[in-house]
Amino acid sequence: MELIDQLFVLLKQAILKTSESFLPPVFLPFLSILISITAIALFAPLTMMYLTWLERKVIARMQNRFGPNRVGIYGLLQPIADGIKMLTKEDVVPLGADRVVHFLAPVAVVVPSLLLFSVLPFGRGMTAVNLDIGLLFFIAVSSIGTLAIFMGGWASRNKFSLLGAMRALAQMISYEVPLVLSVVPVVMMTGTLSTQKIVEAQAGWRGFHWYLFTPWGVVGFLIFFICSVSEVNRTPFDIPEGESEIVAGFHTEYSGMKFALFYMAEFLGAFAYSALGATLFLGGWQGPLLPSWLWFGLKTFFLVFVMIWLRGTFPRLRVDQLMSYAWKFLLPMALVNILAAGIWHYLSFPLSLIVSASVLLIGFIALSRLAPTGTRLEKRVYRYAE
């Protein structure tokens, strides 16, 4: 049991042990870092490839189709075929494009989403870089990707790309605020920003002491999940690339492997955010019986599945609906949630549950009643800003 649980950790130690005999000791820390980097660099693209397969398969089943089933059994080799196709495609750069920025954007979008993987606790003792500020690092690095999307959209010199880029900027800066506020209760409870320590704080109750099972945990998780779907531009929040309105948004003018890199960043982001959600609210690798990395994988893939499910279910939101939802509902709700978490912390058990749950309920009802509904489509007149 212990062996299976620590399989990957032991594997790394074994590699380090064997290389001790022929490598000078100065290089050993570098080798250790190199092994972690290699593991992530192999794992991330592989996951991304099979996430595309999973998404196509699941969406197809939801729409009563078969999905990819020609290449390999169950279409399992389809991602590889797609990869080869992407690599051999012609790379088209628009004549008016800003060539340097146009070239840099796909690179700049993938690097942050790979960096996200470095702080995720994949299992007991399986965090590549156990940073003291892991959570903050994750949020900070994920905000760089937005700028890369903007670079791509702007450098293409295409109206639709520019509109998509602008939408992406507006959407991500709006949803980042409730996203950050929704993880604040977790930090308040654990008193740490390290992802590994947050998971360790959820030990107990036979591995089911997840923050999801507290009132503030449920609300925080829902806000976090909605915001993370929006942060990675997935349906129903995919207005930056809404096909029916602006062709393909910021990646209209990208083809071949450059397009694939944008696609890759989106899937890596979806996986990383699901993994973070599992870490913060679903107890990370905590769980009974199964090895820790399997629990982590199961939870993460369940959240990824829910993201795909949402895509198969909901229509796309309108821009103004998207904005008012973030600013008028999610943001105040996240603040109410912080209050509820504080109450939970300072009261003893039965009272804390009752009071914090009722605070959340009152906040929810008040916000959903008070929020203005419907939009007036007319020119706004400003008092001071004309």
Binding site: A140, S143, A385
Partner: protein
């Protein structure tokens, strides 16, 4: 050491690009490069928290707002953007020299002891310092920000009376 000079060159290039380039968007992108460079310096100094906050606030929010502001202005790519600077050049040079002089003398007179570098601050200590020792400045800053926010809302307020 080599690493330091590499990063320093990149950061200075970013800063120069932000001021000298003709295309406003290129300027903003160079500014982002500069911000990222500064963040790496914080990491080199062992201040990971500050580095993360630097990226989160300057790259994630400020740079995005700068880009947004540029998108809402006219003549983004125009060659006209640099024309206005001509007659103000000497004023700008004087001001810059004054700022460099003041900052330089301040740094020159400050004695950095080895002890002030050795301490590796944890996030917890920073938090304690913010809400216990420096609680008053912290609150004053939040008051200032609230004031700014109310001002922004007032400016963007809809004129209901005029419409009727």
């Amino acid at each position: 050491m080599l690493f330091f000079y590499l990063l320093a060159t990149l950061t200075v290039l970013g800063a120069l690009g932000a001021t000298l380039m003709k295309n406003l968007i290129h300027c903003a992108l160079c500014l982002i490069l500069f911000f990222l460079g500064i963040a790496t310096f914080y990491i080199l100094l062992g201040a990971e928290f500050i580095a993360a906050v630097q990226i989160l606030i300057y790259v994630g929010a400020v740079a995005t707002l700068v880009l947004f502001a540029i998108m809402l202005t006219q003549n983004v790519v125009g060659e006209t953007t640099l024309k206005g600077l001509g007659q103000n050049r000497w004023w700008a040079l004087g001001l810059t020299a004054a700022v460099i002089g003041i900052l330089g003398s301040a740094i020159h007179h400050q004695r950095f002891s080895a002890a002030s570098y050795a301490g590796r601050l944890t996030t917890q200590e920073i938090g304690q310092a913010l809400v216990v020792v420096y609680a008053l400045p912290f609150e004053v800053v939040s008051l200032l920000l609230t004031g700014a926010m109310i001002g922004a809302i007032v400016i963007a307020m809809e004129d209901r009376k005029k419409k009727q």
